[in-house]
Symmetry: C3
Subunit: 280 residues, 3 copies
C-alpha cells in the first residue's frame, strides 16, 4: 500500500487515478483521459508469481473490466525484471492443498488475461522467463526494453511448460520456432525476440515503452468495442477452450510432473544456486 499512497498526490495531478485500493503486490492505475489502465507487478524482488500475486493480478483484470477500461498495460515496477515466472517455492516440496490452489489460480489468471475484452499490451521492462513470458504472450502486443531476455525456459529447470503455455507461444511465433525454443528452453535476447516475432517493438526504456503502448491502444479508439472483443474471442477461443474443458486433467498432469523426484531435484539445485548467488 505504501507505494500507492505515496504516489497518489502526483497521480491525481496528472489525471492518473489509483484503482486497486486493497492491492499490495500489484498497482492498478487508470489514466482518466484515455481510459487506459496500467497494471504494475510489484512483488519484490523479482515479481515471482505465487498464489497471492496471481490472486491480485486476477482481481485487477476483473477490476479493469468493471471500470470499463479502454485497454490495459501490463508492466513491472522493477526496471530489470518483468517477472521471474512461477514462484519456485510454490512447486518445491509443495503442500498439496496450497499447490492445487496455486495452479488453479494460475489457470484462472491466464484464461482471464488471454481473452480480456479490452486490448492488452505488455511493456516488458526486464527479464521475462517462464511464467513471465506467458503473461507477455497472453497480451495482444509486446513492447520490450533492449538488453533483456525472454522465453519459456522450463526445460532448463527440469520442468515442462504445460500445453497452454505452449499454445500461447505457438499462436505468436508458430509451431516450428516454438519447438526449437521450447525443447531447448531458449531465452531470446530482445533482438532475437523481435526477429522471430516473439515481441513487436524494441524500446530504449520503460517510459518510451509506455508511450508506445498508449499509442497501440489508441488505434482502437474508433473501433466499436463489442465487435473488437468478439473478434478476439473467436480468434482465441479454441486455445482457451482446450484448457477450460480440461482444467482438472491439467492440474493433475502438473502435479504429476512437478512432484517427480527428477523435477524436485532440479528445482532444489536451482533454489540452491539462487541462494549461492544471493550470498555472494
Amino acid at each position: 500500500m505504501a507505494l500507492l499512497c505515496f504516489q497518489s498526490l502526483r497521480m491525481l495531478r496528472s489525471g492518473i487515478r489509483c484503482m486497486s485500493q486493497n492491492a499490495q503486490l500489484v498497482s492498478l492505475t487508470v489514466n482518466d483521459k484515455t481510459g487506459v489502465a496500467t497494471l504494475s507487478l510489484q512483488r519484490p524482488p523479482v515479481n515471482s508469481l505465487n498464489l497471492e500475486l496471481l490472486t491480485e493480478i486476477s482481481s485487477a483484470l476483473t477490476e479493469a473490466t468493471d471500470n470499463n477500461s479502454r485497454g490495459l498495460i501490463l508492466t513491472s515496477t522493477n526496471d530489470g525484471v518483468f517477472s521471474a515466472g512461477l514462484d519456485i517455492l510454490e512447486m518445491y516440496k509443495p503442500n498439496l492443498d496450497r499447490v492445487k490452489e496455486f495452479w488453479t489460480k494460475l489457470q484462472e489468471t491466464w484464461i482471464k488475461l488471454y481473452q480480456t475484452a479490452y486490448p492488452t499490451v505488455a511493456v516488458i521492462n526486464g527479464h521475462s522467463p517462464a511464467g513471465g513470458c506467458l503473461l507477455a504472450l497472453s497480451c495482444e502486443h509486446r513492447i520490450m526494453v533492449k538488453n533483456f531476455t525472454i522465453g519459456l525456459n522450463e526445460t532448463r529447470l527440469g520442468i515442462v511448460a504445460p500445453p497452454w503455455f505452449i499454445a500461447s507461444m505457438v499462436n505468436v511465433i508458430g509451431q516450428r520456432q516454438s519447438e526449437r525454443a521450447l525443447t531447448l528452453g531458449h531465452m531470446f535476447t530482445t533482438e532475437e525476440a523481435k526477429n522471430v516475432g516473439l515481441i513487436d517493438e524494441i524500446v530504449q526504456n520503460k517510459a518510451e515503452g509506455t508511450t508506445q503502448a498508449e499509442a497501440f491502444i489508441q488505434k482502437f479508439a474508433k473501433i466499436p468495442f463489442q465487435a473488437r472483443s468478439l473478434t478476439k474471442t473467436w480468434l482465441r477461443n479454441k486455445t482457451v477452450e482446450s484448457l477450460v474443458k480440461n482444467r482438472e486433467d491439467d492440474l493433475n498432469m502438473f502435479l504429476q510432473v512437478v512432484t517427480q523426484p527428477n523435477a524436485q531435484e532440479s528445482l532444489g539445485h536451482y533454489i540452491q544456486s539462487l541462494k549461492n548467488k544471493a550470498t555472494k
Copy 2:
C-alpha cells in the same frame, strides 16, 4: 446480359467462349486453348455481394466444374473495386427469411470456392474489403494491382468476421498477423499485403494480372488433376468441415451478432456516410 452479348463477337475471334448464358451479375468465359475459365464480378457499382450475386457466383463455380475447366480466374469488371464485400443492405434492418437465405448462400459459395478441384487465382484489380477479401483468400493464389487495399475490416463497421472468415485468413498469414489485422479491421495496401503474405504477386494492371494468373494455372498442366485436387481437399478439409458441421449454429450466431442494436446502429451510420459521399 447486355455486356455478355456485346462482347461475344470479339471473344469468339480470340478463342474465348461465353459459358454462363443466364448470368447477369457475373460473366463466365473460358479460354478454349487453355481450358482456363474467367469469372468476372459485374454488379455495379462495387460488386456488393447480395443474394443474387452470390447465387450467380455459386452457379458459375459449378459450371466451371461441369465444363472440366483446368483453372479459374476470379476478377472484377470494375477496375477500381474487386468487391466491396457483403451487401450491407442485406444486413441492415433485415427481413428474416431473406437474410437467412443470404447467409446460407454465402456459406455455400465459400464452401464451394474453398475446395474447387481446379486451381483458383484471384486477380484483385481494385479495393477488396471484408467479403471481397474473403473471396480472394479462398483462392489458391492472389495477384493484386498496385495502389489498392484489402482486408477483413468488419470490426470497423461494428460487425464481426465469422470464424470461417478468420480461418481463411489464418491459413494464409498465420494466427499472429491475423489477430493484429482482424482486431483492428486493418486494410492492407497492396505493398503491405505482399509483405505479410496476404497476396502473392503485385502487378501494374489487370491485363498483367491475367497473364500472371494464366501462368500460375499453367504450372499445373502436367500435374495429374485428380491427385492435385485430393491434395487440396486434404489440406483444406479441416477448415471446411468446421463450417459444414455447424452451418445452422453459424447462421444463428450471425443473426444474433448482426441484429444487435449496436451493430444495426453502426451499419446505419455507415450507409448514411456512403449516401453523403454519393451526393457530394
Copy 3:
C-alpha cells in the same frame, strides 16, 4: 552386413561402436564419447523405402532408445540420394497382404520417429523426394548439402501425400507454403528449402553436416532429458494422435487412392521412365 564388418576396425579405433548387428539395409552406430547414434540408410541404389528397409529403420529407432542414445543423426550412405521415398514397387500392382503390411510399417516408423525422446537431426546428403522428405521433416533439425532437392512431390506421380505427411510439412513451413508446395508437388532446391524454412542449415558436404548435427545435439547436453522429451511430446502429440486414432482408416484411404486406375497408370509410366533412364 559386409559394410558393417568392413568398417568395424576403423570404427572401434575412433570410439564409434556398431549397434545394429542384424541390420543389412541400415547401419546404426553410436559415438561412445557423445552418446549420439547415427542411423545410415544403405539400401542401394537410392534407399527406396520398402517394407524391409522400414522394418530396419523402425527397429533401429527402438534400439537407439534402448541404448540411451543422447541423440540421433539420420543420413544416407549414398552421397547423392538421402532417400528416393516410398518404393514404388510396393505400390504398383500390389499384393494386398504385402501392401497392407508395408503401409502399417510406414505408419509405425513415422509415429516412432516423430516422437523419439532423444533429439533427431537429418543430415540430408542427397535428393530427398516424397517419403525421403517425410523422414527429414520428422526430425527436429534439418541440415542439407547444397545442390540437391527436397519436397513432397507425390502429386507429380499421380498419388497423394496422406494427411500426416501434410501435417508434418505444415508443422515446419506453415499452411500457406505447404499448400503451394504440395498441390504442385514442388521439389525445393537446397537454397529454396532454406529460404522457406524447410531446412535449417546448408552445408558443403556430409562431413560438415555431421559436425553441425553433433553440435545441434550437444546443445541439449545440459537440458534434463525427461523434461525435454515431454515438451516434445506435448508439442507433437496432436499431430501424432490424428494418425494413431485412425490408422485403419488411413490404411484404407491409402489403398483406395493407390489402387485407382489413374494412379496405377501414373506409377506405371514412372517406372517405365526410370527403366528407360537406367538403360541409357
